[in-house]
Symmetry: C2
Subunit: 199 residues, 2 copies
C-alpha cells in the first residue's frame, strides 16, 4: 500500500535493525485519513470472505480494526491485555509472550461477542514474532469461531511471525512488508502484484 | 444523542447504582456505525472551535476519538497508561487515580505530538469522577496546548467529574448524561435542547 509506505519512509524512525518507530501516525499519534485508507484496503482484500466480525487487540489495533469493520459493515471486538473489572463472565483467555517487553500477558475476550458461527478477520498494527496474532487466533478458536484471515498494517518479514501463521494455513495480508531495517534504511519486500507489474 | 441512548437502553447492563456496562458496543465490543455517528456529533458540536488535534486515552477513547478526528480533519493522539519501550523522548506525564481499579497510573503523551499552538479537543468514553479527563487536561496544559473543549460519550452526572471540569471553565459536551442508575434503570438527564423542545 503506497500511501502507507510513503508515510513510513517520511515519518518512521529506524531505532535498530529490529525496531521501527511509527508513533507519529499509527501507535501513539494516529492519522485518521491513513487509518481510513488502511481500513478500506483490508475490507477490499477480504470482501469475498463473508466476515462477520473484526477481532483486534488493544491499543494500537483499534484504529485500523475499527476502520476495517466500518467498511465491512460488521462489529469489532478488541481483546484486552488487562482484565477489566466489569468483564467477568464467559471470558476466553490466551497467554501472549511479548519479546519486546519481556513479559507474559493474559489476553482475553468475552465469549458473548466472539462465538461459533463467527467468521473472524483478525487485524493488528504490527506482525513481528507473531505472538499477539497467535494469541488472537487462539482466542477466536477457543471461542468456537472460524478465522477467515489476518490483516496486518506493517509486517517485519525478517522475523518469524508471518511464516509461522502462513505455515498454519492462515491467509495473512500485510499492507507493508519490511524486508530489512539494516543501516537505518527501511527496505520493503516487493509484493507479488508489484513483481508482476515490473516484469 | 438518541441513537446512543437507545443503544444504552437496549444493550447496557446496570451492574450497580454506579456501574453501567456497555461492553457490547463501546469498550470491548465496538459498534463502528455508532462510533461514526458519535464522532460526527462531536465534530458538529466543536466545529467552530478551530480544533487542531484530538487527544484521548487508551483504550476505550480511541474509537470515538478517531471518528471525531476523522470528521474534523485533524490528527488524533492517544495518551498511554503504560510506558512504551520505544516512547522515550519528550514525555509529558500526569498521575491519574482510578477509583474503580483503586490504583494510580502515570499517563503520558509525547511532547512531539501535543505542543504550543495546538487547540485540543479531549475525547473520552466515560466521565465519572473526572480523574482521566483531568489527567488529559494536565497533559495538554503541561505540553503548552490550549484546551478547546471536552467531549464525552457517556457522563454519569451523579458523580463529580462533570461539575469539576465545568467549574474549571471547560466546555464539556456529553452525548448521553445519566442522572441515575438506581433500581437497575438508566435515567437520563434531559439536555437543554430537549427541555426547550418539550416546553
Amino acid at each position: 500500500m503506497e500511501l502507507l509506505k510513503k508515510k513510513m519512509i517520511e515519518e518512521g524512525a529506524v531505532l535498530s535493525n529490529h525496531v521501527l518507530k511509527v508513533d507519529s501516525f499509527l501507535n501513539h499519534g494516529v492519522d485518521p485519513v491513513l487509518m481510513d485508507a488502511v481500513g478500506k484496503e483490508f475490507a477490499k482484500r477480504f470482501k469475498d470472505q463473508a466476515i462477520t466480525k473484526v477481532l483486534t487487540i488493544e491499543s494500537s489495533g483499534i484504529a485500523p480494526g475499527l476502520m476495517a469493520a466500518l467498511t465491512l459493515g460488521v462489529p469489532m471486538v478488541f481483546a484486552r491485555k488487562r482484565r477489566s473489572l466489569t468483564q467477568s463472565e464467559d471470558l476466553v483467555t490466551a497467554k501472549v509472550y511479548s519479546f519486546t517487553k519481556q513479559e507474559e500477558n493474559t489476553i482475553s475476550v468475552s465469549g458473548k461477542y466472539i462465538h461459533g458461527g463467527d467468521n473472524i478477520l483478525i487485524i493488528d498494527d504490527f506482525l513481528a514474532n507473531g505472538q499477539a496474532a497467535l494469541g488472537l487466533v487462539e482466542l477466536a478458536e477457543k471461542a468456537g469461531a472460524n478465522i477467515a484471515g489476518i490483516g496486518i498494517v506493517i509486517e517485519k518479514s525478517f522475523q518469524d511471525g508471518g511464516r509461522l501463521l502462513r505455515e498454519k494455513g492462515f491467509r495473512v495480508e500485510s499492507l507493508a512488508e519490511i524486508e530489512s531495517l539494516e543501516d537505518g534504511i527501511i527496505s520493503f519486500k516487493q509484493s507479488k502484484a508489484e513483481e508482476a507489474a515490473h516484469s
